[in-house]
Symmetry: C2
Subunit: 184 residues, 2 copies
C-alpha cells in the first residue's frame, strides 16, 4: 500500500488517540524496529512527537547514534507483528524479516518506514531527557505519511484497516472503534 | 464513587492505552483542571508519567509553582466535562464547578482528585523539559487510585463505566472497547 504525504502539522492526528506504535531506526546500515506503547504528540509549532525508550534498547543506541527515527502506526491486522517486535531483541537479528514487516525508504531520514502500517512520522531527534528508567526521545517531525484511503483530517477509524491497537497491559489490547462526535 | 489505592507500579496501567486525561493542580488554594490528550507513562522504576502542557496555561503555572499535579482518567460519561475543561480557561474561573466536576482530597499532594473519574495518579514534578511549544511535565508517581470495580490488573474496559475517551482530533473521540487478547 502506498503512502501519501500529509502536512507536518497533521503528525499529531496519527497518534493523538494513544495507539501502540512501531519505532524504526537505522545507523550505518543497521536497522531495527520496536514496539512502543508510550508515545504522544509533544508540540504543534514546530510539530514534535515524544516516545519513551529504555536506554538499554538497541533502538535507543541506533537513535542516539543516527539522531533520527520513524514512528509507524500499525493497524489491528499487525497484532502478531506488534507482539513480535515487542518481545524480541533486535541486536543480531533482522527483526523486520523475523516479524514479517517490510522496510521501505522514507524521504528525510535513513530509518525505514514500515510498509504495512497505516502511516508513519519521520523524525529528527531534538532532545532526549531522562525520566526514571526511560529516555523521552523528542522528535522534530520532518515528514508525515498516511494511507490516503484511511485519513481525512483525522484517522478514519470507522474503517477496518484504520483501526489502531491500544495496549492495556500484558497480552490485552483493544482496537479503536466507533467514533463519538461531541455535539456543537 | 470511592477510590481504592493501587501499587505505584500500576500507574502505567491507567494510561498505557492512550486515553484523554484531566490534569488537576493546586497552589496556595487556587486550583484548576484541564483536559490533555498528550500523556503517557514514562518509567517503570521509579514509576513516572509524562504530560505535555503549554507554558501559557494556568495549569502550567500552578504546577511549576506547586511542583505537584494529578492525572485523572475520565470515562465516556464525562465527555461534556472533558470538552468543557479543554475549551475553557481556568484563570479567574472555578472550572470544577463550571464543568460539573467534584474535587476531592488526595493523599500525597494538594492538587485534588476528580471524584467522577475512573482513577487518578498523584504526582510530584520531577522535570519539565521543553519540546517546541509545550513543556513535558514529568511526574514521579506518589499515589495511584482507581474505582475498585473497574480494575483487575488492567482497566476493565469491557465495563461501560471503565470505557475511556480517545481523542482523534477536533470534536471526534472514540471509546475504548472490546478487548483483543494476543494468544499464547
Amino acid at each position: 500500500m502506498d503512502f501519501r504525504q500529509l502536512p507536518l502539522a497533521r503528525a499529531n492526528r496519527l497518534i493523538n488517540h494513544g495507539p501502540v506504535v512501531l519505532v524504526s531506526s537505522c545507523h550505518h546500515g543497521r536497522s531495527n524496529v520496536m514496539t512502543a506503547a508510550w508515545a504522544m504528540p509533544a508540540s504543534h509549532t514546530p510539530p514534535m512527537v515524544a516516545v519513551a525508550v529504555g536506554p538499554s534498547r538497541y533502538t535507543h543506541e541506533l537513535i542516539m547514534d543516527s539522531r533520527e527515527f520513524v514512528v509507524n502506526i500499525p493497524g489491528i491486522a499487525l497484532l502478531d507483528a506488534v507482539w513480535c517486535c515487542g518481545t524480541n531483541k533486535g541486536r543480531g537479528m533482522d527483526k523486520f524479516a523475523h516479524c514479517g514487516l517490510t522496510p521501505v525508504a522514507g524521504k528525510r531520514v535513513a530509518a525505514p518506514l514500515v510498509k504495512e502500517c497505516i502511516g508513519a512520522i519521520e523524525c529528527r531527534l531534538a532532545d532526549h531527557p531522562s525520566a526514571g528508567d526511560h529516555s523521552i526521545l523528542i522528535g522534530e517531525v520532518l515528514a508525515v505519511w498516511v494511507r490516503p484511503d484511511l485519513f481525512d483530517e483525522r484517522l478514519l477509524v470507522e474503517k477496518e484497516d484504520a483501526r489502531t491497537l491500544h495496549h492495556l497491559g500484558g497480552r490485552d489490547f483493544f482496537p479503536s472503534g466507533a467514533v463519538i462526535r461531541k455535539p456543537e
